[in-house]
Each structure stands twice: as structure tokens, then as C-alpha cells.
Point group: C3
Chain length 368, copies 3
């Protein structure tokens, strides 16, 4: 599975400048300490964007350097200069990512409903189960133990890792990436009591409760599916519930990390990043280009505007206007939060100062 490319071609593919012997073969990328002198079979190229990293390079090896660094100082045979390092990382790692092995064709053990339509060039792994009326687009690669329910539609060039779950009635655009264990289209968590429930009561009374009584939960079933746009990626063991009567929706270009939970009827816009453990409760709407860092939470039925950025573990209980940068539990503007945190650390001291001041003023009053 090893791939190789000349360092000159690699530089051109990355739209970057090459130095030294352009004909050397590159077989992968690694850390500076893992390099070896490049021989006839070529070798690894290392990322060494600063002198402190580059010093670990082995003489005779290849590296990607920041502009202004001197390849001769490290005895390199070839180098590529990175104008914007993280952008170059994207190109470089794509070049050498072999991904999971999913053999071409349909594995003999896969069970595919006769009414399903699978593109001729799709690769379907062992023990895959594909339901009635499913449609799988061209170039799809589907790993072992994946299940896809009745009527779901997967666009072109999908990569579905082993053990991911797609229920019935899910529609995904092109270039979907689904990591292992992700569950798309589980039933929504939506229940009702015959009479007003305790939750409804405290929402109405802002916390007060009159008579607490036994009550059982009746299920509201989920008839809506899940709609995913193009270029959506969903992380390992993330869960996206189906909608109640319309689809839960994720816009094109949005990336969702591991263990994220999207409730029923949630609408997420385009080009968002939702990081690990983010939870969005039912029926909330997230705008475009929203970034929620790890462990953020969003209450149900609220709206987050376009371009909102929330720092780690921000807990959002009410609507957030477009463009705002927020932080904290509960969420406030990031700069306000910074001031609150500073003040909180001084809070025990405040208490002392206040007590002392009260004492002083009392004495002043007595004197007066």
C-alpha cells in the first residue's frame, strides 16, 4: 500500500517551492526524528517548520521547512518550503493517506436488498447490510459491518468506516465521511405526559412546583429522517437523531467530531465545526460557519446565529446573535467572561474587603 511520488512533483502538487534533488522519491511523512538518509527507494519527508524541530533531522533526509530556513544547515538532500504550513499539511497528508482497506467490488458476505441500487464502482466490505430502496452513489467505499436502512440515499465518493450505522430515510450528499460507530437516524428523544409534566410546569413557573404527581412518558415517534449536505464529515460514535415530522439537517461543508449529539429536528448550517462531545438539544438551529469547541452544550429550541464561535465547554441557554464570540457556563461574550473569571478568583478577597469596609463605615457612623 506504500505510495511514492518525487519530491519535485509533491512540491508542485502542494503549490510550494522545492529545493535540492527534485527526483528523490517520497514515501510518507513523519516527525524529524523518524527520518533516514534518502536512498534509491526514496524516504520519508519530515515536517520541521522551526529550527528547534529541524535539528532532529538526519543528514541526507528530506524536510518541509518554513521560508527563510537553510536546508544546508541540516544536511538535507531536498526540501519543500511551506508558505502557510497548515494548508500545506492538508495537501501533504491527503497525498499519503491510504485510509482503510476496502477491497473493490461487493464482498460475498454482504447482504444487499434486491431493490437497492449500488453504483458499479462502489466497494462494499464484509458483512455489510443494505436495506430496500437504498441508493449508493459512484465511488462509495463502505467498510465492514455497516448497516444502511430502507430508502436511504448516499451520494458519490462516500467513505463509511466499519460499523457506522445509517438508519432508514437518511439522505446524504456527495463525499460523506462517516467514522466508525457513528449513528445517523436514531429515534428522537421526545416524550409527553398526558397532563402537564414537571418540566413544562417549571418552564412556566421558572422553577416553582405545586403538586408533584406520578406520570408516565409516552413516546413521540420520529417520522422525519436526516438530511446531510455535501462534504459532511461525522466523527466516531457521534449520534444524529431523526426529526419528528421533518428531517434533522446538517448543511454542506460542516464537520462533526467524535461523540457529538444532535437532537431531533436540529438544523445545522454550512461550514460549521462541532467539536468532541458537543450536544445540541432538540429543534435548535445553528447558523453557518459556527464553531462550537469541545463539550459545548446548546439548549433545545434556541437559535445560534451565523459565525458564532464558542470556546470549550460553553453552555448556551439562550439565543446568540450572529458573529458573537462566547465563553462560559452560562455563555456570555468572551471578554465579559474573562473579566468575570478574574473577578471570581478575587471573590474570596472581595468578601473580606467588604466585611472590613462595613466595619469601618459602622465605626465612622458611630463617631458621626
Amino acid at each position: 500500500m506504500t505510495k511514492s511520488v518525487t519530491v519535485g512533483d509533491l512540491a508542485r502538487a502542494l503549490d510550494a517551492r522545492c529545493w535540492g534533488d527534485e527526483t528523490l522519491k517520497v514515501t510518507g511523512a513523519a516527525e524529524p526524528a523518524a527520518t533516514e538518509p534518502a536512498g534509491a527507494e526514496g524516504g520519508i519527508i519530515a515536517l520541521a517548520m522551526a529550527d528547534k524541530y529541524a535539528r532532529a533531522l538526519k543528514p541526507g533526509s528530506m524536510a518541509i521547512l518554513a521560508e527563510g530556513m537553510q536546508p544546508e544547515n541540516y544536511g538535507l538532500k531536498a526540501a519543500i518550503f511551506a508558505p502557510r504550513p497548515r494548508v500545506l499539511m492538508a495537501g501533504l497528508t491527503r497525498e499519503f493517506d491510504t485510509g482503510p482497506d476496502i477491497a473493490p467490488g461487493i464482498h460475498g458476505s454482504a447482504i444487499i436488498d434486491p431493490s437497492a441500487s449500488v453504483a458499479g464502482d462502489a466497494a462494499i466490505g464484509p458483512f455489510v447490510v443494505i436495506g430496500a430502496d437504498v441508493r449508493i452513489g459512484a465511488g462509495a467505499r463502505i467498510g465492514a459491518h455497516v448497516s444502511i436502512g430502507r430508502g436511504s440515499v448516499i451520494g458519490e465518493q462516500a467513505l463509511i468506516h466499519p460499523g457506522a450505522r445509517i438508519a432508514h430515510g437518511v439522505r446524504a450528499g456527495d463525499r460523506l465521511i462517516l467514522q466508525s460507530g457513528a449513528v445517523i437516524g436514531g429515534d428522537g428523544f421526545s416524550f409527553v405526559t398526558p397532563e402537564e409534566s414537571g418540566i413544562e410546569e417549571i418552564r412556566r413557573t421558572l422553577g416553582a412546583r405545586e403538586g408533584i404527581k406520578a406520570q408516565h412518558w409516552t413516546r413521540i415517534h420520529s417520522l422525519g429522517g436526516v438530511d446531510l449536505g455535501d462534504d459532511v464529515e461525522i466523527g466516531a460514535n457521534a449520534t444524529i437523531d431523526r426529526g419528528t415530522i421533518r428531517a434533522t439537517t446538517v448543511g454542506s461543508g460542516t464537520k462533526i467530531d467524535n461523540l457529538v449529539q444532535l437532537g431531533h429536528n436540529v438544523v445545522v448550517g454550512q461550514d460549521c465545526l462541532l467539536c468532541g462531545h458537543v450536544g445540541i438539544a432538540g429543534s435548535s438551529r445553528i447558523g453557518n460557519r459556527v464553531v462550537l469547541a469541545g463539550q459545548c452544550g446548546v439548549s433545545d429550541n434556541i437559535e445560534i446565529g451565523d459565525d458564532v464561535i464558542a470556546g470549550g465547554a460553553t453552555k448556551i441557554f439562550s439565543r446568540v446573535p450572529a458573529g458573537r464570540v462566547i465563553l462560559g457556563h452560562p455563555a456570555v461574550k468572551m471578554d465579559t467572561q474573562m473579566e468575570i473569571q478574574k473577578a471570581m478568583r478575587r471573590l474570596p478577597r472581595f468578601a473580606q474587603q467588604l466585611a472590613k469596609l462595613q466595619e469601618t463605615v459602622t465605626r465612622l457612623l458611630e463617631k458621626g
Copy 2:
């Protein structure tokens, strides 16, 4: 798989009043914008509980309206009037939920231990693995790739979605619903060090540490299983660990959302709602009808009384008396939390006011 029912029969099933042509066939439920004029084959019924929604209805279609709305205003052919909309939603969605496809009978690829007992009418999907002495009740439907370990007992009418995991020694009542990827009966997270561990030390000293020393963790194995009552639902990728020497227990009627974690020996009462990402640490006890909103956390070995309601991301470190409504990190009464949050936002201003006041008083003192 499309189902149909006359709008008159549907209204009667929902215990609601019907208006217009009761003989029209209803084939599903959707949003107002998705309606079409109902023809000979019938059509979709839309939920339109307020005028602003109902305006999107197509003339000639069918809708569920709130009492007091006028079907003629929207040119409807038939309507159902909803006395308590969310309760009606439960009946309506149950009527049209086709659920996952699991063909009747036992799929030829399923591997079932000869000592297991599976009810004659159970539906067992492809690649299911059922261990020794397992008992599966009448009407159970078990999706693809599910595994059920030795000696586990599943009651009647269970619905187990593809890829759910039930370990050995799990007992579930009737009408269990298990979403994909849920893991019931993983080993508890319980470890011990030969001498006092750092955790035990800081619990004893409330944070102080004397001598830090290297220590390895020895596993306490989990001999207890998991007991689930009747009418329990467990969400996608949720995890419930087995107990140490007695079972981890979930009471009848309790609903557990996606990605929830229940530690070993936890006891959850009846008719609780545990929302997405809730985590309950080992040996804690949760009463009946407790509602924990998304991302709540409960420390180990504590007790939450009956009818407690905790708002989103509430972190509970100590016991909570019955009936209390709590919020915050750490949890306090909801109204106290509201005051704390108000004061926190004013905290930076307090700091300034306090400093200025100190200055003023100092000047007063000097004058005096």
C-alpha cells in the same frame, strides 16, 4: 411500507374531533409546506397548530389544527382538532412510524446458540449473534449485527436496533427499545491500588497531598449484571455498565438518551428522563421521575431524591432532596442559581464599585 388510514378513523384513534370528508385516506404526517391536494389515494396530513404555520397549507389538503382555527380559511378538505397538541403528536407519530425493516423470522446468517430460547414470532436480522441460555420474548425485533451475551433475558415486544450490544447477564423487561450502538453490560470502571491512592488521600484530606508515589491500578471485576424494567428506552451509543456484585438497575418507564453513561452499581428509579451526554458515576442512586437535562453530571455514591429536575449541564456533587429543581455548576436551587448568575455578570462592576468605595471611605477616615 406505506400505511394508510381514513382521516375519520385517525381522529377516533387520537380521541380528537374530525371536520370535513372523513373518508379521505391519510398516508403520513408532514410539515404544511409538504402538503398536496388529497386525491383518490389520499395524502399527507400536516401539523399546523397556529395560523402562521397553516398559511403554508396547500388548498385541498388535510391538517391538524388547534381548536378555534377555521379549516375553511385554508381551503382544507379535512381537519382534525388537537385538544393537547403534544399528546396528539404521540398518537399520530406512532400511527405512521414504520420503524426499521427487520424481516419476520430468523435470518439465515444469524448465529444462535442451541441453548438459547427465541420466541416463535421474533424477528432476528442478519449477522445477529445470540449466546448460550439467552431468552428472547414474544414479538421481539432484533436488527442486524446485534450481539447478546450468555444468559441475558429480553422481555416481550423488544425493538433492538442494528449494532446494539447486550453483554452477558443482562435482564430486560417488556417493550425494551435499544437504539443502535448502545452498550448494556460493559465492565465497571473500578480500580484499586495496593496502598491508599491519591484519590482516596484527597477525599480524606479535602485536597491536600503529602507524598506522591507511583502506583498501579488493579481491576475490580464486575460480577453483577444489568437489570432493566419494563418500557425502558436507551439511546444510541449510550453505555450502562454492569454492577460489581449486584446489578446496575434502571426502573420501569425510564428513558435514556444518546451517549448517556451509567456507571457500575447505579440505581435509577422509574419514569426518569436522562438526556444526552448525562453521566452518572458509580453507585449513585437516582429516585423516581427524576429529569436530568443534557450534559448533567452526578458524582459517585450520592443520592438524588424523587422528582428532582436538573437543568442543562448541571453538575451534582452532593445529595439532592426530593422535589428540588436545580441548576448550575456546582448545582444549587434554580432560583439561587439565577441570582448568582445575575450577580456574576455584575461582578466586574462590583469590583470597581468596591475599590471606589474603599477609596472614599479612606478619604472620609483621613478627614475624620
Copy 3:
């Protein structure tokens, strides 16, 4: 699968003192209320480390008691005295843990690449898929529906529960325990925009944003794998992402609970405990013997020193020196947090006191 051992041998195995009839057979461990008089076939031994528990023991049964308790008081036939109860629990539960059933040998339905090397005594369950060049060590037990990707290496005595996922390029030491649904080696969550992204901007400006513009995310692929040391245990539905160009690493003896998320390039030291729902963002480094309680979060690119202990739901945004005990959101020293929380609860009262004081001082000033 029932196992039995004499109570005398059990005591010796546990390095503890035995009292009474040492020849009685023990067939399992349970709670005091579950005991029965031990007969010819032996019986259950109960854990009853205090008188209040021991009172539930049935006469004629067996129990593990704390030193100083009197077996005669409960009519026991035999007893074991526990010097350090939790340490004894480890030995006792190990003795009776039968674990999941995985039949010896390779199940006929498993699909194993011809280039893979599986130790002769390994047990491989139904529908397991093992990729090219995988190596599985001696004594491994691999449950149903597990998949292991190309080139991964699993040491000796591994126990991999049903449905766990190991991607390509994962290396694990000996005695690995993987609970169901764990995903090792998913792709990292790493994206870049062609120009500076909003996240990069607010990190530079500490929250300020100038021009918000549309931007798409380009994927940085994950070429690194995951390296796990010896004696690592990973919980149900936990996720560990692969590194970008070097491996994500977990040190020997570290235990990881359910639903924990480790981002790409994370390095976790030895003998750590990471409890349920902990999330560690990309490229952060965790020292040795670190304990993170449930729902803790660690930002990306920071360092947590050796022997740090963080209480439940602690959110860590910056580096933590070795040995520190921390708590809160954001994390501060545990004792500081205790003072902050006390002051926060008094905060609404502070506000009133401050306002009153200001009034008094204003009056004093007017008088002066």
C-alpha cells in the same frame, strides 16, 4: 460456566485469614441478602464489611467480614477477614469473573486476511474481520463483530469485546482490554482554511473579530496511528483518534472509561485514570498517574503534569503543574475553588450589602 473454589483456598488466594469450615465451596460473590445456607454444593459468599450489612446475612452462609467482626453473631459457617476491603474485592471478583463467552479457535464465519498472523491459541468470534498484516498475540480473545484494520498489532492476552473497532496502524501492548463499541484510530478532527480562520483570528486577538468571511474547511488527514502500552483498558464507546504524522499515545497501565474522547496527537502517560465523558483535545499531553474525574475537559495543545488530580467536570484551559489538585470551570486549585463557590453562594447578598454600604457612605459624605 459456574466456577467453584473452597473458602480456604479463596482466602489463601486473597492473602486473607479464614474462619470456620475451610472446605466449603464458594461458587460466586453477592450481596448479604442474596445468601443461602451453604450446602454440599457450597454457596455464594457475601461482602459484609460492617454490621449494618452483615445483619442481612442468612444463617449458615459465608461472608467476607472486616477485622474485629464476629462471624458467630450472624450464624456463619465460614468467613474471610479483609485487611484492605477494596484490594480484596479485586482478587475476589477476578476469581469469579467468567467474562464474555468467546469459544476457543477461530469461528468459521470470521474473515481473516491471509497475510495476518493470529496466535494459535487465540479465540476469534463470529463475523470478526481482520485485515492485512495484522498480528494478534497469544491468548487473545476477540468477540463477535470486531474489526481490525491493516497492519495493526495486538499483544498477548488481549480481551476485545463484541463490536469494538480497531482501525489500521494501531499498536497495542499486552493485556489490552477493549470494551464494546470503542473506536481506536478514527481520523483526527483537523481542518484548515486557505486564509486565516475565525478561530485563528480570535486566538490572536483574544476574542475580537474584524471581517467575517465565508470559508470552507480543508481536511488534514491522519497518517499517524495509535500506540497503546501494556495493561491499557478502554471503555465502551470511547474514541481515540489517530495522530497526524506521529501516533496518538496512551502509556502502560492507563485506564480509560466509557465515552472518553482523545483527540489526534494526544499523549497520555502511564497509570492514569480518565473517567466517563472526559475529552482531551488535539495535541495535549497528560503526564503519568493523572486522574481526570467524569466529564473533565482539556483544551488542545496544553500540558498536564504528573500526578494531577481533577475533580468532576473540571474544565482545563491552560497548563497544570505536576501534583496539583484542581476543580472547577475554569480549573483552579481545589481549595481556591471551594472558597470561590462559598463566595458565589453569598454573592447575591454581597450585592445587597455593597449597595447599602454605598448608600450609607453617600449619606456620610453629604453630612461631611
